[in-house]
Each structure stands twice: as C-alpha cells, then as structure tokens.
C-alpha cells in the first residue's frame, strides 16, 4: 500500500506521455498496413495526386511570375504574405477547436487529470497534439509549394546544388511558424472555457461567424471598384492591405525570409528564421504557462457546462418540420423532423452552412461593381458560371461533412428506428428529404440572388437554378446512398465517419459529379456568348445543360438505390 502521507516528487512525465502517443501512432500505422493495405495505398496515391496537382498549379503561377521579373520581385513576397496571413487566421481557429476538445474533453484529459501529473505536462501534451493535428495540412500544401518555387526560380539565382539548403530552410520556416497559431488557438480555447463556459461551441460559432463576416465586409470594401482605372484600384487595394506587411506580424517574417532565400541571401533569411523561431518559442511558453496555471478552473467550468440544460420540445421546430416535410408519410416525417431538430441544435453544422453561404451572399451583393467593371468583356460570361462552381463546391463540402455521417449515426439507433412500421430503405428517403430540403433552400436562394444581382436573362437564370437543384439532388443522393453502402456504425464521431473510407469515396464521387455537371454547363455557357443580349441559348446548349441535370439526378438515384439495397440487409 502506498504511504498515504507521502508527497510525490514533482517530476515531469511529458516524455512518458509523448511515448504513449508515439506508440499509439505506431500501432495505428501497423494496423493499417496489415488490415487495410488497399485503403492505405489508395490514400497514399490520392495524396500523391493532390501533391502533383498542387505542384503543377504552383509551378504555373510562379512560372508566370518569372516571365516578368520586375513584377515577380513585388508579387512573390506579397503572395507569401497573403498565404501566411490566411494560414495564421485559419490555423488559429482550427487549433482553437481541436485544442478545446483535447483539453476539456471528457475522456483522455479527464483520465490524465486524476493521475499524479502536473497540469503543465497535460497542457504541453495537448498543445503539441492539437498543433500537429491542426497543422498537417499546411505541410501538405507547403511541400509542393516549396518545390515548385525552387523549380520555377531562375537557375542563375538558385542553382541545383543550392536547392537542398533552400528546402531545409523552407521546412524550418514552416516548422517555426506552426507553433504561433497553435499557441494562439490554445489560448482562445482556454479563454472560451474559462470565461464563457455555457454553450461554448455556440458562442465560438457565433464569434467566428461575426469575425469572418466582419473580415469579409472589410475585404469587400477594400475590393470595391470605386475607380475605373485598374492601376489606381490596385494601388488603393495594396495600400489598404499594407498592414499585413507590418514588421510585428509573423506572416511577414516568414514571407521576407523565404524571399531572401529565393534570392540566395542565406544570412538575411536565417535572421528572419531566428526571429520566427524565437517568437514561436516565447508564445508557446507563454500559452502553456497561462493555460496550465489556470487550467483547473477552466476545466471545472467546461465540465460543469456539460451537465446540460433543459430544452423544452420546440413547437416552432415541430411546426416548421410539418411544413417542410408535408409530402412525407407520418413515420418518415418524424425521422426528417428529428434530423432537422438535431441540425438546428448543432451549431457546428448550421454555422458552417451559414458562414459559407453568408460569404457567398456578401460577395454577390458586390456583384454590381464587378458587373460595371467587366461589362462588355468576356469576363462577364464567366462570372455566373464561377458562382455556380462556388455554390456547387460549398454544397459538396457540406453534404460530405454533415449529410454523409447521418446514416452511420442512425445505425446505432437502429434498434429504435428499425422498428418504425416502414421498410428500412425508406429511412434513407427521410434522410434524403431532410438533406435535400436544407440544401435546396439555401443554394437556390443564393443562386437566385446571384442571377438578380447580375441581371441575368430569365432563361439563363432558370437554367442556373435548375442545375443547382440537380446538383443538390445528386450530392444528397450520393451522401445518403454511399453513407448507407459504406457506413461506420461503430463510430460516433462525425468527423471520423466523414474521413473514413466511405467518406473519402463519397468526397471523390461528389467532386467527380460536380466536375461533370460543371463541364457541361461550362461548355453551354461558352457556346452562348452574350448572356445579357436577350437572345435565347441555342438548342445544343440547352440540351447539354439538360443532359448534365439528368446525369446528376440519375447518379443520385443510383447511389440511393445501391445504399437502400445494402441498408435493408445490414445487421448492426
């Protein structure tokens, strides 16, 4: 028996905690290699394809800059400045979300807090973990960016022999930059738990939404084309954006360092690397100290906020569900209404939809200024088509992330839902009806706004709206159908369901479907040169658009059918 009065030495057990994480990762990798080699190979090939695609894209961009060396001198640091400032904001938010779950979640952190570990060890572990989890995509983007930049650089400036040094310094810049948004994100997560523990996620979603909306409004004002002279506009825009080149911002240190490296100025580049590293260490230390010092109170408040508050059955949401799903038979209407209620109570879902389409709406309200600038040029043909592309990709993101997991989650409640007096496959119809209703309402409203702002011809306006509905149908059909064919019934985490084999298959299929439809509509748009002249598009263009819509509807129906056949047989 342990001596009850003994006071344990305050030794750091961070090394032990990190070893456990490494061991878990090793076991996970070994399991993937042994049990799912095909899936692993597919993932590796997919990543390689994405890398190649990104490399090609970056190479084209930097190659374009190389043709005009004078412009490249100005543009390349600016591109990096914008890239890293965007990364700073995005990574800070994704770190905040991941760090919140890691620090104040119910499972591992609760277990570690009952062990004789110092809060500093737990907080440091969670800081490292969330930073790695949130930032791997930057590495994914960064590697092809780095190679393309080196390959596109003038050989007289960066010789083949110098490239290894360039790659090493570039990677060092990435690694030095990543802890900064990591630390800011963790501080945000801690502050959310400490100061607004009640409905933290809702508060964060609203705060994030307000911040993004504010950023966009400010950005759109900066972009507003008050001047017809493009050079004057560009100067004005750059002047407004000059704050991102402030010497106090980390994006500027990284951009300046890389720029020096491209011009083979290693000492200057290393100076900026040193500045970035020193600041990264300092802010990491500061964040770990603050959070671990006040961790127990924040954890207590976060845990207390999970105790739940009363939520009376909302008559309003019941009435709305009755209105939206009036066409469904009663048992299916109940399932769709349940999904609507769950959706309305999950701010992660609706806030993403609101933010993404809110951004679109803000952009569309600025359409008239773009229209004036581009009237009479070929650009005007492309703008409505680009709007359709943006809406389609947002829809694909939403359905893959939030609609796809619906069937897997339902599988865990099949003991209840499976007893509904209706064929099991019909449950999928309820899921489909719910997803279709939400996506059509939001997407059609957005596209209608776009056509109004652009004063598009009625025929083309109708074509765009019909294509949007078709895409909603296809994407919802895919997400529900593939979700039923390749479900993950043992998983409750929607992110993991969406990132699994079924989710990845659904994502690829959805992107392929959207690409197919958009190629069709793109060809039809190109054939009809003047959309505002009042002339109708020719028969071939109409036929192409019609075929694209029929293809997406057929694909959606096929996916639903395959999913329903499997779902009827499945044993949970």
């Amino acid at each position: 028996m342990a001596d009850p009065l003994a006071i344990p030495p305050t030794r750091s057990l961070l090394g032990l905690l990190l070893r456990v994480k490494v061991r878990s990762m090793w076991n996970r990798t070994r399991q993937a290699v042994n049990e799912a080699p095909v899936r692993l190979s597919a993932a590796v090939i997919l990543v390689a394809l994405i890398w190649l695609g990104l490399y090609w894209l970056f190479y084209l961009v930097f190659g374009q800059f190389r043709r005009t060396p004078l412009e490249a001198t100005v543009a390349i640091p600016l591109v990096f400045n914008f890239f890293f400032v965007a990364m700073l904001v995005m990574l800070t938010f994704s770190n905040a979300i991941i760090a919140y779950g890691a620090l104040f979640g119910k499972t591992e952190s609760a277990y570690l807090l009952t062990a004789p570990l110092t809060p500093r060890d737990v907080v440091t572990l969670k800081y490292l973990e969330s930073t790695v989890m949130a930032s791997w995509s930057l590495i994914l983007l960064g590697l092809p960016l780095m190679i393309a930049l080196a390959d596109a650089a003038e050989r007289s400036v960066l010789s083949v022999a110098q490239r290894p040094v360039f790659y090493a310094v570039f990677i060092a810049f990435f690694l030095a930059f990543i802890p900064i948004p990591g630390a800011l994100g963790m501080l945000l997560a801690w502050a959310a738990a400490r100061f607004c523990p009640r409905r933290t996620i809702q508060s964060a979603a609203v705060a994030g939404g307000i911040l993004v909306a504010g950023f966009v409004i400010w950005g759109m004002r900066s972009l507003r084309l008050g001047e017809t002279d493009a050079e004057v506009w560009l100067r004005s825009f750059l002047a407004r954006m000059s704050f991102i080149e402030s010497a106090l911002l980390p994006n500027n240190w990284v951009a300046a360092g890389i720029d020096h490296m491209i011009h083979n100025q290693l000492p200057q580049s290393l100076l900026y690397l040193g500045v970035t590293l020193a600041n990264a260490f300092f802010i990491s230390w500061l964040a770990v100290m603050i959070v671990s010092r006040y961790f127990d109170r924040a954890h207590d408040r976060a845990a207390a906020s999970r105790s739940g508050s009363k939520r009376p059955a909302s008559q309003a949401s019941g009435g709305l569900a009755g209105l939206l799903f009036f066409y469904l038979p009663p048992p299916l209407r109940l399932i769709a209404a349940k999904d609507l209620r769950t959706f309305s109570r999950d701010p992660l879902q609706w806030s993403q939809l609101v933010i993404l389409f809110g951004l679109m709406a803000l952009y569309l309200t600025n359409m008239p200024t773009l229209r004036v600038e581009f009237s009479g040029s070929g650009w005007f043909l492309i703008i409505p088509f680009l709007n359709l592309c943006a809406v389609s990709l947002i829809l694909a993101t939403f359905t893959c992330r939030f609609v796809f997991p619906l069937v897997s989650l339902e599988g865990q409640k099949l003991w209840l839902v499976g007893l509904v007096p209706t064929p099991r496959g019909h449950i999928l119809l309820a899921k489909f009806a719910f997803a279709m209703t939400v996506t059509v309402l939001v997407a059609v409203a957005t596209m209608a706004l776009a056509t109004v702002m652009l004063e598009l011809d009625t025929v083309w306006a109708v074509i765009h709206v019909v294509v949007t509905v078709g895409i909603c149908f296809g994407l919802c059909g895919f997400s529900v159908g593939i979700g039923a064919r390749l479900p993950m019934f043992n998983q409750t985490n929607t992110a993991r369901i969406a990132n699994g084999l079924g989710g990845t298959t659904n994502l690829l299929a959805s992107v392929a479907l959207v690409a197919t439809v958009l190629i069709g509509v793109g060809v039809a748009t190109w054939r009809s040169r003047d959309l505002t002249s009042g002339r109708l598009p020719d028969v071939a263009s109409l036929a192409i658009c019609g075929a694209a819509v029929l293809v997406t509807i057929a694909a959606g129906l096929a996916a639903l059918r395959i999913g329903a056949r499997h779902f009827n047989r499945v044993e949970v």
């Binding site: 342990a2 878990s24 591992e108 277990y111 807090l113 009952t114 004789p116 009640r198 207390a304 105790s307």
Partner: protein, 248 residues
C-alpha cells in the same frame, strides 16, 4: 476534526451547475480501511461527488481532503494516493491492454520488477490474460472494465474511488471484484464505491451513505441505517423508504 484520520473527508461541500445545485453542503468522513458504498437515485449527485473527490471538479464552497491532503491546494499529493475508475472507463484505443498497464505503472513510478510481479497476480485474478495483447478498441465493456480495474489496483492506492464498478461484468468477474475490494480494505486501503446494485452494497460495504437531491440523507453501517429507517428489512427497502421520506 483532524482530516488525516480519514481516507476521505468532505467538509461543507457545495457544487452547482448554473442554477442547478448538484451537491449541497455535503459533509462526510470515510475512515481508512473501510469500504464505503455511496447510493442514491439517478441524478442524486453521486458522480458529481466522486468527481469532486478525485479533483475533476472544484467545489463552490467547502473542502475535500484525501489522506490528509487538500485536493484543491495539494492536488498532486492527493492524486498520488488515489485511483479512480469512472463509469465509462478510458483506455487508449490504439494501445494493447498490456501497453496501457505498463504506461500506468510508469506513471506511478513503479519499478519494472515490482510491476511484473503485481501484474502477474492481477492478470490471473481478473482473468484478462487472454486478451491483454490485443488493441483495447476491440474490448467489450466488461473487458475494458477489468483492465481498468487492474490499472487502478496496480499502484496499490490508499483510496480507490469507483463509479458503478459492476456494470458490464459477468457474475464470475463480479465475485472476483468484490473479493478484491474486500482484500484491499483488509490491507488498509479504502474503497469509495457508488452503485445502484444494492445487494452488492449490502454484502460488502462497511459503511453506506445515501444521497438524494444533492443532500446526504443517511450515513452509517447497515444496522445504523435500519435503526434510522426503523425497519429490520433489506437495504433496498431502507433505501426506498429513506428517499421517499426525503421527497415527502
């Protein structure tokens, strides 16, 4: 009161979640070497009390001592004496049971030789050897519960705090766990157990506390509770009577 005399001492502890008071003015002493069964209806405040004892929650008012160490101000020393098994046991999914137990041993600074000898006995008694080298993600609830119990007993804690220990266990495992608890108290350890399984509490508990709507409504040995309820009946009837009286 000298708090070092007791394994667990709560003094005037209150904890609320917003407007809901989960635990109100709770004072309780659990002597060393005793098995204390903590009973109460659903939502009575049992799990909140346990989380307060193990330091996962902070009391709004009052103090909590474990083996004389105040949990709020001297948490590390208190936690070194504790082992906690929650109702939903935590295991690293991508570790094997054996890897997890080795991790726990290192966490509590147990030497390799001591760890191996303790583990051999626990593996045998809890009958976990068959699946100990599989990843824990493949375990059933009962298997997880047995491995977590082994982890909790591995460092020979002075105080074992356990929330619903018998859920998911088969009758044979329940018998083994009951014996382990009794043995732990005979060796000078203390067990603080919350449960809904009244016959187990009746069979093994030295002391029983009943909490209802956040208030401790009865505490004592089974005979003392019988006297309080003025009945010579089973713990189940005493429990129902006391909670009904409290409602009334």
């Amino acid at each position: 009161m000298n708090n070092t005399d007791h394994a667990i001492a709560l003094v005037g502890v209150t904890k609320s979640y917003g407007r809901t008071i989960a635990v109100r003015d709770l004072s309780l002493e659990v002597p060393r070497g005793k098995l204390f069964a903590f009973l109460g209806p659903n939502g009575a405040g049992k799990t909140t009390t346990i989380k307060l004892i193990v330091g996962l929650l902070r009391p709004d008012t009052g103090w909590i001592h474990v083996c004389g160490h105040e949990v709020g101000s001297n948490g590390l020393a208190a936690k070194a004496q504790l082992a906690y098994v929650p109702d939903q046991p935590f295991l690293y999914e991508k570790l094997t049971g054996r890897e997890f137990l080795y991790f726990v041993a290192e966490l509590y600074g147990i030497s390799t030789r001591r760890r191996d000898s303790l583990l051999e006995s626990l593996i045998h008694r809890l009958d976990v050897g068959e699946f100990l080298d599989q990843l824990t993600e493949s375990y059933s609830h009962g298997m997880k519960q047995r491995v977590v119990l082994a982890a909790a007993l591995l460092h020979e804690p002075a105080v074992l705090v356990i929330d619903e220990p018998m859920v998911g266990l088969d009758p044979r495992a329940i018998r083994v766990v009951k014996n382990l608890f009794v043995e732990h108290t005979r060796n000078g350890g203390t067990v603080f157990m919350s449960t809904h399984t009244l016959d187990i509490a009746e069979a093994v508990a030295d002391q029983i506390g009943i909490i209802h709507r956040g208030k401790l409504i009865a505490v004592g040995t089974l005979d003392e509770l019988r006297a309080q309820a003025r009945r010579q009946h089973s713990l189940e009837e005493i429990f129902l009577q006391l909670t009904e009286v409290s409602d009334g």
